[in-house]
C-alpha cells in the first residue's frame, strides 16, 4: 500500500512533465499534421536555458530566494524556448509546408540532431548536476520503516502544471488565437480565405508548445537536478507516446496520456523491473497505435474512398 501511494505520487509528478511536453506534439500535429520530431530536443534545450539562468540568477546576481529565482527562470525559459521554436519553424519547417510529405519529417529529424549536438558542442558533453533547489519533503505516512513522502518539488510541479494548463486551456478555448487555431485545424485553406493569418497561427502554436515544454524542462531540471545534452530523446518519445495514447490532436488527451505514461512507468519500475521500464513505454506505444490508433480521447480517422 505504501509503495502504491508513493508510486502514485511519483507517477503523477512524472506524468505532469510528460503531459506538458505532449501538448506541444499534439498541437502541432493537430494543426499541420506533422510529428515535430525536434520537440523533445527543444524540451532538453529549455532545461539548459533554465539551468544557465538559475546559475546566473543565484550566483552572479545573488538572488537568495529560490522561489523568486525559479519563477524568473521559468519565465525566461518560456520566452527563450518559444523564440527558439519560432525560429525553428520559420527556418526548417515553413519552407517545406505543402511540399513532399516526408520532407518536414526529415527536416525535423535533422533539427533534432542539430539541437542535441549544438548543446553538446556549446555546453559540453558531461552531465550537468545542479545543487538541489528545493529540499523539503512532507512525510505522509511512516509505517514499518517505509515512509511515503511528498516533496515540495513534487507539489511545485503539480501545482505549476495545473495552473499553466488552466491558463493554456483558457487561451485555446476562449481567445481569438485559440479560435484561429481550431479553424486552421479543421481546414487551413478555408481559414485563410476567411482572413485567419495561417502562418502566424502556426507560428504561435509552435511557440505555445515550446513554452509548455520549457515549463516541463524547468520542472525536470528542478526534479532530477541534472541534465544532459542527450536528455531530449527518451522523454520526447515518451511524451509523443502520451499524445498518441490520449488521442493525438486532443489537448485533454495529451495530459491524460502523459499522466498514464508517467504512472505506468513508475508502477512498472516499482513492481517489476527498472531495466525494462522503457521497453514497457515503447511497447505501450506500439500496442496503442496498433489496436486503437485514435487513442483514448481522439476521433477515429475514417478514410473515404
Amino acid at each position: 500500500m505504501e509503495i502504491f501511494l508513493q508510486q502514485l505520487i511519483n507517477g503523477i509528478t512524472l506524468g505532469s512533465i510528460y503531459g506538458l511536453i505532449a501538448i506541444g506534439y499534439t498541437m502541432v500535429f493537430g494543426i499541420i499534421g506533422m510529428v515535430n520530431f525536434a520537440h523533445g530536443d527543444v524540451f532538453m534545450v529549455s532545461a539548459f536555458i533554465a539551468l544557465i539562468f538559475f546559475l546566473v540568477l543565484t550566483t552572479w546576481l545573488g538572488i537568495a530566494s529560490v522561489a523568486l529565482a525559479l519563477f524568473l527562470v521559468l519565465i525566461i525559459a518560456m520566452v527563450l524556448t518559444g523564440l527558439l521554436s519560432w525560429s525553428i519553424e520559420r527556418i526548417a519547417y515553413r519552407p517545406l509546408r505543402g511540399s513532399f510529405r516526408l520532407a518536414p519529417l526529415i527536416s525535423a529529424i535533422g533539427m533534432s540532431i542539430v539541437l542535441s549536438n549544438f548543446i553538446q558542442v556549446a555546453q559540453g558533453p558531461r552531465n550537468k548536476p545542479t545543487p538541489p533547489m528545493v529540499r523539503d519533503v512532507i512525510v505522509l505516512t511512516d509505517s514499518n520503516g517505509y515512509a511515503v513522502t511528498l516533496s515540495y518539488k513534487q507539489i511545485i510541479i503539480m501545482v505549476t502544471t495545473a495552473v499553466l494548463l488552466a491558463a493554456f486551456w483558457y487561451v485555446v478555448q476562449k481567445t481569438p488565437l485559440g479560435r484561429a487555431q481550431r479553424a486552421c485545424e479543421q481546414d487551413r485553406k478555408m481559414a485563410a480565405l476567411l482572413g485567419v493569418n495561417v502562418d502566424r497561427t502556426i507560428s504561435l502554436t509552435f511557440v505555445m508548445g515550446a513554452a509548455l515544454a520549457a515549463v516541463a524542462g524547468t520542472m525536470y531540471l528542478m526534479y532530477y537536478g541534472v541534465v544532459n545534452f542527450s536528455d531530449g530523446f527518451v522523454p520526447g518519445v515518451k511524451a509523443f507516446t502520451a499524445a498518441v495514447l490520449g488521442g493525438i490532436g486532443s489537448l485533454p488527451g495529451a495530459v491524460l496520456g502523459g499522466l498514464l505514461i508517467g504512472l505506468i512507468e513508475t508502477f512498472w519500475s516499482g513492481y517489476f523491473s527498472i531495466d525494462y521500464k522503457d521497453v514497457a513505454a515503447f511497447s505501450i506505444l506500439a500496442i496503442v497505435l496498433i489496436f486503437m490508433p485514435q487513442g483514448i480521447l481522439g476521433r477515429p480517422e475514417v478514410e473515404k474512398v
Partner: protein, 461 residues
C-alpha cells in the same frame, strides 16, 4: 512599394529592408545564442557547477547570423523571387539526367568503385591506404548498402521505417552469437543472418503494416528501440551494454587473414599487413552492396516491384486491382530487412565487436536521411547521398589543420553530427525530393522517359 513594381523600376537591392531583417535576426540570435553559447556551464575544481562568460563566441555567431540574413535579404531572395517561386533552383535540375546518361554515370561510378583500393594503394602504399579503404571505402559502402536496402521499403513501397537499424542489429548479433557459439563460418552465417532478419521483418511488420502515415514511422521507431533495449537488458545472451567481442573474422573461402602459416600473407609470400584484410573486406561489402542493387533493379521490373511502387502511389487503387497489399508490404519489409541482416553480419565480422551502442535510433535516422536526401527510389541518388553524408562527415575528422586556426583544443570531430543535421535540414529545403527525384519507368512501349519527380507520390507510411 509593391514587389513587382519595385523589381522592374529599380533592380538594386533594398538595403534598408535587408538591414532591418538583419537586425531582427540578430536580436533573435542573441536571445538564443547569448545564453546557450555565451554562458557556459562548467564544473569548477570543487565539482560545483558554475557559469563562465563566453559572450565573445556568442557575439561572433550573432554577427554571422546577421551578415547571413543581410545577404539573403539583399541579394539571394530577390533574385529567387525574380525567377519565380522559390524552388526554381531545384526545378532547373529536377528533370534529371537522361536515362542513357544515367547508365553511363552508373558504369563509370562502378568502375571507380572497383579501382578505388588499387588507386589508393598505388598512391599511398599499403599502410597509408588503410584509413582510406577502411574508414572511407568500407564505411560508405555499408551505408550505401543499408540505404539501398531501406530504399526498397521507403523509396519503392513508400513505407516509412524509422527502426531499420533493428534488422541491422539482428544480422550483427546473429552472426556474432552463432559464430562464437557454434563455430560456423561467415559464409554459412551470411544467409542465415539475412533470413533471420527477414523473419524479424515479417514478425514486426505484420501487426504494424495496416497503420498509416507517421504512425507507421513511430511504431517502427518504437520497435527499433525495443530491440535495442532488449539487447542491453538480456545480458545472459547478449552480454548487455558491454557487447560481444572477439567475433571471428571473415576468411577467403577458408584462408584466414592472419599471421598463421596457412594465412593469406604467407600463402602468397607477401609481407604481413592488415591492409589485405581491409581490401578484401572492401570488395566483400562492394559485392554485397551490388547484390542489393542488382536484386532491387530486377525486382522493380517484376510484378512485385511494380506493386510496391503502385502501393506507394495509391493503396486503395491497388486493392481495387486485386493486389494483396498486406503481403506486398510484408515482402518489401522482409526483403529490406534481409539486406540489413547481410550488412549487419558483415559489420560484426569487420568490427570483431558488437554492442547495442551501434544500433541507436540515430543510425536509423541517418539511413532514412540518406534515402530521402538521395531521392526516394533512386539508386544513384542514394549512393551519392551516402557518399556525401558519410564521407563528408568522415572527412571532417581529417580537418586537423583547423586546430591551427581555432586553437589546439578545437576538435573538428565534435562538429560532425552538428553539420550532418544542418546538412539534412539544408538539403531538404533546397531539394525536398532529394538529389535525384526523377523516376525511371520499369517498362516501355516506345521509349523510356523519366517521370518528373513532382508527379511521383511519396507513399503514406
Amino acid at each position: 512599394m509593391t514587389d513587382t513594381a519595385h523589381a522592374t523600376s529599380r533592380p538594386g537591392p533594398d538595403y534598408a529592408k535587408a538591414a532591418k531583417d538583419a537586425l531582427l535576426a540578430g536580436i533573435i540570435a542573441l536571445g538564443i545564442f547569448g545564453p546557450l553559447v555565451g554562458l557556459k556551464t562548467e564544473q569548477n575544481m570543487s565539482n560545483e557547477l558554475i557559469v563562465r562568460n563566453d559572450m565573445a563566441s556568442a557575439l561572433i555567431i550573432v554577427a554571422i547570423v546577421m551578415a547571413g540574413r543581410f545577404l539573403l535579404s539583399a541579394f539571394v531572395f530577390p533574385r529567387m523571387g525574380a525567377r519565380g517561386k522559390k524552388p526554381t533552383v531545384a526545378n532547373a535540375i529536377d528533370e534529371g539526367v537522361k536515362p542513357d546518361r544515367t547508365k553511363l554515370y552508373a558504369r563509370l561510378g562502378l568502375l571507380l568503385l572497383f579501382l578505388y583500393p588499387i588507386i589508393v594503394v598505388s598512391l599511398l602504399g599499403f599502410q597509408g591506404s588503410l584509413k582510406w579503404v577502411d574508414n572511407f571505402g568500407i564505411q560508405i559502402l555499408i551505408y550505401v548498402m543499408l540505404g539501398w536496402g531501406l530504399n526498397i521499403v521507403v523509396g519503392l513501397a513508400g513505407l516509412l521505417d524509422l527502426g531499420y537499424v533493428a534488422f541491422y542489429a539482428v544480422g550483427a548479433y546473429s552472426y556474432a552469437l552463432l559464430a562464437i557459439n557454434f563455430d560456423l563460418s561467415f559464409w554459412v552465417l551470411l544467409p542465415v543472418a539475412g533470413i533471420l532478419a527477414a523473419m524479424w521483418g515479417v514478425i514486426l511488420g505484420f501487426p504494424v503494416l495496416r497503420l498509416r502515415g507517421d504512425y507507421l514511422a513511430i511504431v517502427t521507431l518504437a520497435f527499433g528501440e525495443i530491440i535495442r533495449l532488449v539487447l542491453i537488458n538480456f545480458r545472459e545472451l547478449t552480454n548487455g551494454s558491454a557487447g560481444i567481442s572477439s567475433i571471428p573474422k571473415v576468411t577467403l573461402f577458408g584462408i584466414p587473414f592472419d599471421a598463421s602459416p596457412d594465412g593469406f600473407a604467407k600463402m602468397f609470400d607477401l609481407p604481413l599487413s592488415s591492409a589485405y584484410y581491409k581490401i578484401f573486406l572492401y570488395y566483400l561489402i562492394l559485392l554485397l552492396a551490388l547484390l542489393t542493387a542488382y536484386v532491387t533493379i530486377r525486382l522493380r521490373r517484376m510484378p512485385i516491384g511494380r506493386a510496391w511502387e503502385a502501393l506507394r502511389e495509391d493503396e486503395v487503387a491497388c486493392r481495387s486491382l486485386g493486389i494483396n497489399t498486406t503481403n506486398t508490404k510484408l515482402t518489401a519489409f522482409a526483403i529490406g530487412a534481409m539486406f540489413a541482416g547481410f550488412a549487419g553480419s558483415f559489420f560484426a565480422a569487420r568490427q570483431g565487436f558488437v554492442s547495442p551502442e551501434s544500433f541507436v535510433f540515430m543510425e536509423s535516422a541517418v539511413i532514412v536521411a540518406i534515402v530521402v536526401l538521395g531521392g526516394m527510389g533512386s539508386m544513384i541518388g542514394v549512393a551519392v547521398a551516402a557518399a556525401a553524408m558519410i564521407g563528408g562527415t568522415e572527412l571532417l575528422r581529417e580537418l586537423t589543420f583547423l586546430k591551427a586556426v581555432f586553437g589546439p583544443e578545437f576538435n573538428p570531430d565534435q562538429y560532425r553530427m552538428l553539420l550532418f543535421g544542418l546538412a539534412m535540414v539544408g538539403i531538404m529545403i533546397w531539394r525536398p525530393r532529394g538529389f535525384v527525384s526523377a523516376r525511371q519507368p520499369t517498362a516501355f512501349l516506345f521509349e523510356r522517359k523519366a517521370v518528373s519527380g513532382s508527379l511521383v507520390k511519396e507513399g503514406h507510411g
